[in-house]
């Protein structure tokens, strides 16, 4: 295996291309596209040179706003080669979130697909945020909203006068000589930022976590000591590339020379297609596995060669694990713990039925330290006691881009990342997550910070106050609901406010129910009691179920 010391992500791809040249690196079944490691390296080199030809300098940020695509991996490794940190934008973002993310990260070049589904037209959104693109050709406009942005590249077919197209950029790659490319690659340090991934963090507003080449590579090598693939493995990856979990799995696959079977997004029927392409490992969130269970049962009788499941992103129910082991061909499940700010922390290999309520996420990986601290932060707790999980690891992010204060709140002076997760350790050192200290709703693996939705609801002229809480969901684990107080004499409907949300924020954040109330339950000191709102929502839902 490759020695990752002092290496960059490009070195990892180069290594795999030289050692496993003709082996498939990825397959994209829905478009019948695939590439070997040598082909992926060449595509990534083309992307890198194209971006160099467009004038992108070392350290300048490139953002990718697209559902998973066959060229996603080439763009990721291409950016890594030339030291242009890649800002991975959530493909479900709508105008408000895109504007915020671009302003936060000083993006110089934005690569965009045509659209995401039928109601999220990316080109129309960027035209609204950056109207300069409508009137001037590439290179001759500057954006009022995003002063550093100077290049918008279309990955699909739609274009605005100020945009370049990806095919044009790739054509320009020929203007960059091999020596210039080599020189550029040598200027990239393992400790440079490779990716900026958005996270709600522990304090709310979305922040761009800077992850270095070394963060990814050292973390990958540590995980590889536990979770082992071989070159014949094919990892079914219906996860979005903007998630740290997905990128961890990609790096692990490249490290072992396995192939990634990539999908645009989750679909319950992927399993059948994935089996046809020879997938042996299924990666997903617990919500995805719930959706796949029926197809997995059928696949077993059809001789599926799926041997392993990997899950992360939310707590893993024992019932789901037991169903997979009993009713499918999968005989090994890995329950991983990872966070955007720390990458992978630990993993638990499960090969028999589980009777405990909380399925452990295992022991920390090599060189990863984890401790459980009292909520007051005064002492380290002994096994069996619940407290906040702290992580110190070579995978810990460099920091939040442009947010020094938030970084020092998240990672203390001793280098511990404060996860905001409530956890305990057993006597053997296995970690179990039992809840959260930070206020966040996890909907099918997507973190939703209630304050972000509350603040958005407050921009509606009729809304005076808003509170968002999570309710249990069989499918997603949790879903957001909102409680709203309207301004005096105003009236509004649930549908009206839901439509208002859908127009500008990602669909996964839109509250499933909006309840209109006249006041919120408060403590004597005036603090809103969210747990009472949660109880109220649960009561309404139970009543509805009974009807």
């Amino acid at each position: 295996m490759m020695d990752v010391t002092g290496a960059t992500l490009w070195d990892l791809l180069e290594y795999s291309a030289s050692e496993r040249g003709d082996k498939p690196a990825f397959l994209f079944p829905s478009q019948s596209v695939s590439a070997s490691y040598v082909e992926l390296r060449d595509q990534a080199a083309g992307a890198a040179k194209g971006l160099m030809a467009a004038g992108l300098k070392n350290g300048e940020h490139v953002a990718l706003w697209a559902p998973n695509r066959p060229d996603s991996l080439a763009i990721e490794f291409g950016c890594a080669a030339i030291g242009t940190p890649l800002v991975m934008l959530n493909s479900d973002y709508r105008i408000l979130e895109l504007e915020y993310a671009l302003q936060q990260t000083d993006v110089a070049a934005l690569l965009i697909a045509d659209h995401n589904g039928s109601s999220n037209d990316y080109v129309e959104v960027i035209a609204r945020l950056c109207p300069e693109l409508l009137v001037k050709p590439p290179g001759e406009w500057s954006s009022e909203k995003f002063p550093k942005l100077r290049c918008v590249v279309g990955l699909g077919e739609k274009r605005l006068p100020g945009m370049l197209m990806w095919s044009e950029l790739i054509e320009r790659a020929d203007t960059i000589g091999e020596s210039a490319f080599q020189e550029r690659k040598q200027g990239v340090s393992p400790h440079d930022t490779a990716f900026i991934l958005f996270t709600s963090g522990t304090t709310g507003e979305p922040k761009g976590a800077m992850i270095s080449h070394a963060n990814y590579l050292v973390n990958t090598a540590a995980m590889a000591r536990e979770l082992v693939f071989d070159q014949s493995d094919r990892l079914c990856l219906p996860l979005p590339f903007f998630h740290a979990y997905c990128l961890c799995m990609v790096m692990l696959a490249v490290y072992f020379g396995a192939a990634c079977v990539v999908y645009e997004r989750f679909n319950a029927n992927q399993i059948l297609q994935s089996i046809e392409t020879g997938s042996t490992v299924l990666c997903g969130t617990p919500t995805m596995f719930v959706g796949w269970l029926e197809a997995l049962r059928n696949a077993r009788s059809e001789g599926a060669i799926l041997r392993m499941a990997v899950t992360a992103g939310a707590s893993c129910p024992a019932e789901m694990v037991n169903s997979i082991l009993e009713k499918t061909s999968i005989k090994e499940i890995w329950n991983l713990l990872g966070m955007t700010e720390t990458l992978l922390v630990s993993g638990n290999r499960i090969d028999c039925s589980q009777a405990t309520e909380f399925i452990s996420v295992g022991k920390p990986l090599i060189r990863v330290e984890a401790q459980i601290e009292s909520i007051t932060g005064e002492e380290e707790l002994p096994p069996g006691e619940n407290g906040e999980l702290l992580v110190r690891s070579p995978g810990n992010m460099l920091g939040y881009y442009g947010k020094t204060e938030a970084t020092s709140k998240a990672i203390d002076a001793r280098g511990w990342y404060h996860s905001g997760d409530m956890a305990f350790r057993d006597l053997k050192g296995n970690i179990s997550i039992v809840g959260r200290i930070k206020e966040v709703i996890i909907r099918g693996g997507e973190n939703i910070f209630p304050r972000e939705i509350e603040e958005y609801l407050l921009t509606h002229p009729k809304v005076k106050e808003a509170q968002v809480v999570g309710i249990p969901s069989e499918y997603y684990g949790e879903e957001p609901v909102a409680f709203v107080i309207l301004h005096q004499e105003e009236t509004a409907t649930q549908l009206e406010l839901k439509k208002y949300c859908r127009e500008r924020i990602a669909l996964f954040k839109v509250p499933v129910y909006i309840y209109f109330v006249e006041s919120f339950p408060k403590t004597a000191s005036g603090k809103i009691q969210k747990f009472k709102l949660q109880e109220q929502a649960a009561m309404i839902l139970n009543k509805k179920k009974e009807e």
Partner: protein, 88 residues
Amino acid sequence: MDRDTILKKLLEIHQNQAKEKKIDIALIGCDLELSKIGFDSLDFAEIIAQVEEEFDCVIRMDNMLKIKTINDIADFVMKEISSDIIQS
């Protein structure tokens, strides 16, 4: 609103979504299992948004787990609409 009108509208919503995905709209029938159409998670999210806006009701993915066909959605919408009328 009667069931036939609801069903007609639901068919239209699903057919439009199928067109977007370049799926043969002739496949879309009231008794076809939705999971067989090839819609992904985003398609379902968009269909739910359209159904909610058309009929002014809420459909959760938890409900969709039990719903197999467009006919089932029509039953669900009928139930939701009638319970709203009773409550108001």
